[in-house]
Amino acid sequence: MTELLEQHIDKKLIPILNQVSDPEIPVLTILDMGVVRSAIIEGDEVIVKITPTYSGCPAMDVIGDDIITAFKKEGYKAKVELILSPAWTTDWITDNGRKALEDYGIASPLDAQADKEVLLENKKLVKCTNCGSTNTRLVSQFGSTACKALFKCDDCQEPFDYFKCLK
């Protein structure tokens, strides 16, 4: 398991990588999610290194297969490697990705300190994705997938997901 401190993606490969998204959050491409740490062409092969969001995230296996399929369609043979270090953080979600999340109805992660405050229910900081109110409360620290917590808005009464900060 190699360590890879800097992201290194061949610009030529970006349009192809952009076709692959998280199967559980289809509006988020894997580039916006920040899980692609490197993508380079070596000889006649493309080598893509991805890092998991959560250790047990079942989406990773699917993402790996989807990457291979997307490259095959464009005439490339691709190999996907999983790397663990440095560990993924929600800071790697791009601004574009955060906007896509919000539009989709998932509140994007706050910074680490604010995240702690909302999950310990000390402060109301998470904005309702339906009406924009911060009069929201935590229903459960664990939601429909490993990366999300469940919230409810006390103004419009709508339940929604919050993407937990991981740092």
Binding site: M1, E3, P52, S55, A87, Q141, F142, S144, A146, L166
Partner: protein
């Protein structure tokens, strides 16, 4: 370096997360409420993911055509090296939360040290896992407080679970000969150094939860040497069912 020592050391860590992950997985669809059901299975998923990372590494060391599945599914009971605490059954929600809490406090301290291991793969897995385990700890310690400082009934039941499971806490710090070799090589975690901090943190939360810290000095051990309580066999019968019934089947 003796590869077999490292291999066994990895299994010890991996089996803790595999077995506790399996226990929590049993709650899928059976949790006391929808939110706790989802929380426990989320934690289960994290732990199985962590176990996979360790097993993939162990399989690589073992070489030949070994896979993570061979190691996870095809060992006999005495070849599993998890601590006794994690194999204890889901007696009721109080036991589930207490087992989780007693393990999470240890798990956080352990991973925090494993981060500094000379072994880069173990250090990377620890760095990844620790973020997830922080959430587990928040969940379990919260529930200890809610149940302890809750109703008379919840207080009494969580106290009983703590009194019963306390006997398995000391084993977390037990070191086998293999562990000691790994510590000397700068790979393993010197668990004895974590013991004081462990009991300090546990006692703090228990006091906040208005619960008594058990005084019993009688502790059980054996899991790290492959000697388990009767519960592990039943758990494995479930865990290994598919591979034993349809050998080499693929998902």
């Amino acid at each position: 370096m003796n590869n077999n020592n490292l291999y066994k050391y990895i299994l010890g860590i991996a089996d803790n997360t595999l077995i506790l992950g399996q226990r929590l997985g049993e709650l899928c669809g059976h949790g006391p409420s929808l939110e706790t059901d989802i929380a426990c299975t989320n934690i289960s998923l994290d732990m199985l993911g962590q176990a996979r990372n360790y097993f993939q590494y162990a399989a690589k060391l073992k070489g030949k055509n070994y896979t993570e599945d061979d190691i996870a599914f095809l060992r006999k009971e005495h070849e599993y090296l998890n601590v006794l605490l994690v194999e204890q059954p889901n007696t009721d929600f109080a036991y589930i939360i207490t087992r989780q809490f007693l393990f999470d406090v240890y798990h956080l301290l352990f991973l925090n040290s494993l981060k500094n291991s000379n072994d880069l793969t173990l250090s990377a897995i620890a760095n990844k896992s620790i973020k997830e385990v922080s959430y587990h700890y928040r969940f379990s310690s919260d529930w200890i407080k809610r149940l302890g400082d809750g109703t008379e009934e919840s207080h009494q039941r969580i106290q009983k679970a703590i009194d019963d499971l306390w006997t398995y806490t000391d084993e977390l710090f037990h070191q086998t000969e293999g562990d000691k070799t790994m510590i000397n090589e700068g790979i393993g975690v010197d668990t004895l150094k974590l013991k004081e901090e462990y009991y300090k943190r546990v006692n703090e939360i228990l006091q906040e939860a208005t619960l008594n810290v058990p005084e019993s000095k009688y502790f059980q051990k054996g899991g790290k040497d492959g000697i388990h309580t009767e519960h592990l066999g039943f758990l494995l019968a479930d865990l290994q069912y598919m591979q034993r019934t349809y050998p080499n089947m693929q998902w």
